[in-house]
Chain length 241, copies 2
């Protein structure tokens, strides 16, 4: 490496089966920025200046530009010509739409998965749930909440055997993530979320597509509707600035 790659220094697990998953600088910047957006370190509407990010990571602006276009495609940032990038600021209606789209696709996937769900799948999902609840006992663990949540949901959808649809749904979940975290913070009970997940799992165990997808639909759209209202009120308060 010709320059000291400060961002790549994270000794995170290889995680992929690739021999050497030595990612590009651009990809590393994507991950860092995505995490910063999801955990709220970068707020809605905040400007992302290429030069600032480049100097922060001690790299040039080229990989930063790549990362920004990538994040724009994911929907987390918005690009304006000759005026740079800002963290996407979604209207309450758009957020509701995001959750609604999740509900449509995830319920369909769950219906497809239900007949294929085996005892092992249920056991795995339960294990994820248990691990999650245990980690909750210690501290909030907001950082990794999105990963826990997704691994639980995807465990239920994976048997549907629709990889493309799954990755699409995953991206939707990433976009919902920062709002879901907000949901957890304001409702102040991750435990209730855990209970909702447990109810969903029980619904799946009935092996009835109608019951399961109805539970999932409720789970997703209620969170979306709550957030829509909450953010509408919240922004009305903070609008005059």
């Amino acid at each position: 490496m010709h320059t000291q790659s400060s961002i790549l220094s994270t000794p995170r697990e290889p995680e992929k089966r690739s021999p050497i998953p030595r990612q590009s600088l651009g990809a590393a910047v994507v991950e860092r920025l995505r995490e910063k957006i999801l955990n709220g370190e970068l707020r809605e509407g905040e400007q992302l200046r290429q030069d600032a990010i480049a100097t922060e990571f001690q790299i040039s602006r080229i990989p930063v530009r790549e990362a920004l276009t990538h994040l724009a495609a994911e929907g987390l940032v918005t690009l304006v010509a000759n005026r740079g990038a800002v963290v996407s600021a979604l209207s309450p209606e758009e957020i509701m739409e995001l959750f609604e789209t999740r509900a449509v696709l995830e319920c369909y996937m769950l219906r497809c998965a239900i007949p294929e769900l085996s005892r092992e799948d249920f056991a795995r999902a339960e294990g994820i749930l248990r691990d999650y609840e245990e980690s909750l006992e210690k501290d909030s663990e907001m950082e990794s909440w999105g990963r826990w949540n997704w691994s639980f949901h995807s465990a239920l959808y994976a048997p549907a055997n629709r990889p493309k649809m799954l990755s699409l749904v995953k991206n939707l979940n990433v976009n919902c993530d920062r709002y879901t975290r907000l949901h957890l913070v304001v409702t102040r009970n991750q435990h209730r979320a855990g209970k909702a997940h447990r109810e969903l799992l029980e619904a799946c165990k009935t092996k009835d597509p109608e019951i399961a997808s109805a539970a999932l639909w409720k789970h997703i759209t209620e969170a979306g509707a709550y957030l829509k209202e909450f953010l509408k009120r919240h922004r009305e308060q903070h609008q005059r600035a």
Copy 2:
């Protein structure tokens, strides 16, 4: 700063089409490459060398790299680290999945739109259909077929008033486009496709969500299933290479 901070903070104006669409070079390359992929000028699995594209358009490789990452996000090309980009080669199952995802989302949108569909909406859709059939009389017009198709479908979905979902569905349609064109070529009758569209429009006119969405579901999944089988046979034949 103090006087204008409210304008900067309000996400009221995300982006409107600038009167002079003086797009960046990268955006221009995206359009050209996308069209080349969709109309088959660039075949599945074909390598896209940055330098070759850059010299073809007489620009540097920087905007080309931007365009490639953008197209990768759209799903039209696949990026491999340190090994460049290739035109995405989807398996028959993945193609079927793409159409299935379209069916799920578009049927939902149509159900939402049905109660809102006005006489003007039907007239507009009919006009699009008529223009399309007229242009068919002259010549094949394969180039712009995707645009016609999308303008017809989106005319039916627009009243659902879900812009984010609509843009997601639009991207799925773009990805399906090159296969749909193939479908039209091998079945050799765009007229039949026109008839299917007309039947769909009639189904919508009943204002019955069940009838309309059933017609749409059939329209989309039949094309997907046909293409899946066709490509499976086609590739088996051309496998030994």
